[in-house]
Symmetry: C3
C-alpha cells in the first residue's frame, strides 16, 4: 500500500487531489476499484463511470476527477505502475541440478537455468540471464547479460544474442535458411547454411517465432527490435533498430528493413528488398518492390494506403459503372443511327 503522493513521485508526475489516500494496486479503467489507480489516454471520458481512486492522465487532459496525476506519457506511466505492483520475479534460483551444462561452456554470475536446459560446448551466457525449462543452447552460441528466455527456446550454434533481450517460449533462433538449388535432374539440393544470427540489445522475440541463419553472411537484428509471435525472418536479413513486426509476418531472404519500421500482422516481404526507415506496413500487405521513402503502405501488390483505400472505395461502384458503360453504348448507338 502506497500513498498517492508516493505514486506520483514514482511517476515523476504532478498530483492534484488528496496525496494521502492509499493505493493498493493498478487496474484497467473499467475494473479499477476504490483502492486502485488506473490511466486514461482519452480526452473525452465520462468521469462518473470511473470507480478508481485516482487517474494518471496526460498533462493537457481536461478531465475533472477528485485525484489526478499528470504525466507526459500515461501509457509509459501505466507500464511503470504494472512493474511496480507486479514485479517480475525470477522463476529459477541458480542452475537446476537437472540442467546439462557442458564443461567448456561459460556461465556468467547469477545465471539461472531451469530444469532440463542444455548448454553446449563453448557456449557463453552473460551475467543475470535466466533461461527456463527445456531450452537448448547449441555449442558456441553466445547470450548476453540480463536476458530472459522462456521455456523450450532453441538457440542454434553461431547465434549471438545481446543484452536485456526477451525470448518467448518456443522461439527458434538460427534455424537453417531455406536455400536450395535444383540439380540437372531438377531435384532440389540443399545449400548449406553456415552463417550467423546476430541479435542486438533490448530485442524481444515472440513465441514460436523463427529467425534463420544464412549461407555465409549474417542475419542481423539491431537493438530494440520487437518481433511478435509466429514471425518468420529469412536468412541474411537485416532488421533496423526500433522496428516492430506483428504476428505471422514473413520476411524473405536478404531483405533490408530500416529503423523504426512498423509492420502489422501477416505482412509478406519478397526477397532482396529494401524498406526505408519509418515505413508503416498495414496488416496483410504483400511487399514486392523496394519501399524507398517513409509512408504507409497496404494491399497486395502493395501501394500507398490512401491509394489502396481509394481503389477499394471505387471498386464498390464497379458494377454500377459497368452498367453505365453499357448504357452509354446504347445511347451513342442511337445517336449514331440518327
Amino acid at each position: 500500500m502506497n500513498t498517492l503522493k508516493e505514486i506520483s513521485s514514482l511517476l515523476k508526475g504532478e498530483l492534484r487531489g488528496n496525496p494521502d489516500i492509499r493505493i493498493r494496486g493498478v487496474n484497467s479503467l473499467a475494473r479499477a476499484g476504490e483502492t486502485e489507480i488506473t490511466f486514461l489516454v482519452k480526452h473525452d471520458a465520462e468521469p462518473s463511470a470511473i470507480q478508481a481512486a485516482a487517474l494518471v492522465v496526460a498533462r493537457d487532459n481536461p478531465i475533472e476527477y477528485p485525484n489526478l496525476i499528470y504525466v507526459d506519457d500515461p501509457y509509459l506511466a501505466f507500464a511503470k505502475l504494472l512493474e511496480y505492483f507486479h514485479p517480475a520475479r525470477p522463476f529459477c534460483t541458480g542452475v537446476s541440478d537437472s540442467a546439462r551444462v557442458h564443461a567448456d561452456a561459460r556461465l556468467g554470475q547469477n545465471v539461472r537455468l531451469g530444469a532440463f536446459v542444455e548448454v553446449g560446448a563453448a557456449a557463453s551466457i552473460g551475467d543475470d540471464t535466466e533461461i527456463h525449462s527445456g531450452c537448448v543452447v547449441y555449442p558456441g552460441a553466445v547470450i548476453g547479460r540480463s536476458c530472459l528466455i522462456y521455456a523450450n527456446v532453441v538457440i542454434r550454434e553461431g547465434v549471438i544474442i545481446g543484452d536485456y533481450c526477451i525470448l518467448h517460449a518456443g522461439a527458434v533462433i538460427g534455424s537453417d535458411g531455406f536455400g536450395f538449388s535444383r540439380d540437372p535432374a531438377g531435384i532440389p539440393r540443399k545449400i548449406p547454411q553456415k552463417g550467423k544470427v546476430i541479435i542486438g540489445n533490448h530485442c524481444e522475440i515472440g513465441a514460436n517465432t523463427c529467425i534463420d541463419r544464412s549461407t555465409i553472411e549474417e542475419t542481423r537484428l539491431e537493438d530494440h527490435v520487437k518481433l511478435d509471435n509466429l514471425v518468420q525472418v529469412g536468412h541474411n536479413c537485416r532488421i533496423g533498430s526500433g522496428t516492430t513486426i506483428s504476428a505471422l509476418t514473413g520476411i524473405s531472404g536478404s531483405v533490408d528493413v530500416g529503423r523504426n519500421v512498423v509492420m502489422g500482422g501477416q505482412v509478406g516481404i519478397a526477397d532482396h528488398l529494401r524498406i526505408a526507415d519509418g515505413v508503416m506496413i498495414a496488416g496483410k500487405t504483400g511487399v514486392s518492390g523496394h519501399i524507398k521513402k517513409r509512408g504507409i503502405i497496404a494491399g497486395n501488390p502493395h501501394m500507398d494506403l490512401r491509394g489502396w483505400r481509394r481503389m477499394h472505395a471505387l471498386l464498390r461502384n464497379l458494377d454500377d459503372y459497368f452498367t453505365r458503360i453499357r448504357e452509354l453504348e446504347k445511347r451513342i448507338s442511337e445517336l449514331e443511327a440518327k
Copy 2:
C-alpha cells in the same frame, strides 16, 4: 470383431441387412474392405465401387447396398466408430521419475506426467489429466481434469485451463501480449503483460499455436473453442463458445469474437473489433471493421462473400470495359465533330 448388430446398437442406428456379419474395423470409403465398415455422406454414390461390409448412412439416403446402418449423423457415427476401433490409450503411466514437480504443486488423482515435465510452485493439475514429455507448467498455472497435453507445450504463470481440453504439441499459452509504447526518443518500451489467460472446457488448441496474456485483464476462450495449428490469439481477446479457427489465422489484441464463428485459414482480424455470433469468415480474409451480423465475409478489405465474388467476376472484364470506354470516347468525338 463385432457383429453388425452390435455396431448398429453402438451407433443407435437402424440396421438393414445381415445382422450377423463380422466387422473387424472401420476405414475410409475408398479403402474399406470386406470385413470393414465405412460411412457415406453423399447421396449419389455408386455402390458398385464400394467394397465395404457395411455402410453407415443418413436416414434419408436412398442408396441401395446389402448392409446399411441408418443414423442421424453419419459423420458423428464415424467418429464414434474410430474411437471404438482405435481407442485412445494413455501414453504415460503415472508420474515419470524424471518429471520435476514442485513440492507446492497440487496433482489430482491419476495425473500422468511424461519424462522431463516441469510443474512449478503452486501449479495445480486436475484428476486424470495427462501431460507429455517436455511440457512446462509455470508456477501458479491451473489445469483442469481429463485434459490431454501433448509434448513440449508451455503453459505460463497465470493461465487457467478448464476440463477436457486437448493441447497439441508446441502450443504456448500465456506468452506476453505484443504491447509497446514509444518513448520520447522513439524507442519502443515494453508494456508489462501481467494479465491471465482463461480457457474453458472442451477446448482444443493446435500445434505451435500461441495465446497471449494481456497487460492486466484476461484473454479468454469460452467452452468448445477449437483452434487449429499456428494460430495467434492476441492479448485481451475473447473467443466465444463453439468457435473454430483454422491454421495461420491471426487475431489482434482486444478482439471480441462471438459464438460459433467459423474462420478459415490465414484470416487476419485487426485489433479492438467485434465479430458477431455465427459469422463465417473465408480463408485469407482481412477484417478491418466490426462484423455486426451473421453472414459470410471474404476479401481484404473484407466484404460480403457474394459481393466479393461478384467484384472479382467483374474485374475479369476490366480490360474489356476500359477498351469500350476508349471506343466510346472516339465515337462521341466523331459525333461531336459533326
Copy 3:
C-alpha cells in the same frame, strides 16, 4: 589450406589462372578476401570490386579475372565448397545418459541422442540418425537412417520418416488433423484422427512447421519435399516429390500437390484441391480451385500471374476511367439535348 588446383578438382571444374595459390576458405562475393574463393552467378559483375583469390563461375561467363574455375552450376559448386570448408559435425556422441529410451524401442547403429530425448515403446530409429535435445519420439514412430533432427521436435505415434531427412527445431509431425462435426446442438465434436503421416527420403521440414495426421488415411510427403518454417500441412494431403513450400503457407486438408511445385510464402490452398506438377504459386496466393496445368499463379482469388499483374496495372487507372465515364455521360447528354 588447399591449392586452387585441388579446389578445382573437387568441383570437377576447369581452372584458368594460377593452380598453386592457397585457398583458406569460402566467402560471399562482397566479403571474400585475398585467400578466399567465392562464386559469381551474374554475367555483368565489375571485377575491380572483387577481392577474392578466385571465382567460381559458369562455363559461359565472359568475366575477366586472374583466377577462375569454370563449372556447370556455380551455385551447387558453392554448396560443395561450404560443406568442404565448414563440414557438419555431429552435435551428439552416442546416446546421452539423460535420454529416456523405452526398452522396446529399436535404435540402429551409431544413433546419437541428445539430452532429455524421449523415445517411446516400439519406436524405431535408423542407423546414423542424430536427434537433438528435447525431442520426443512417440511410441511406434519410425525414423529412417542418417536423419538429422534438431532440438525440441515432436514426432507423434504412427509417423514414418524416411532416410536422410532434416527436421528443424520445434517441428511437429503427426499432430491431429483439424476435424470437427457439429452435433445437433451445434457444438463442434472432435473427429478422431487415427491416420498416419508418411515422409519420404531427403525431405527437409522447417522450424515450428506442423504436419497433421488424418482421420484414417495418410498424410504423405514424397521424396525431396522441402518445407520452410511455420508451414501448415493439413490432414490427408499428398505433397509430390521435389516440391518446395515457403514459410507461413497453409495447405488445407486432402489437398493433392504435384511434383516439383514451387510455392512462395503465405500461400493458402483450400481443401480437396489438386495442384498439377510444376505449378509455381506466388507468395500470398489464395488457391480456391484445382490448378490443372503448369503455369504461374497469383492473387486471391488466384489467377494467372500475367493476368493478375495486368489487372492490377489497370486498377491503377480506375479512378481516371470512372472520371472519363462521367465525362462521357455529360457529353452524350449534351449531344442528345441538341
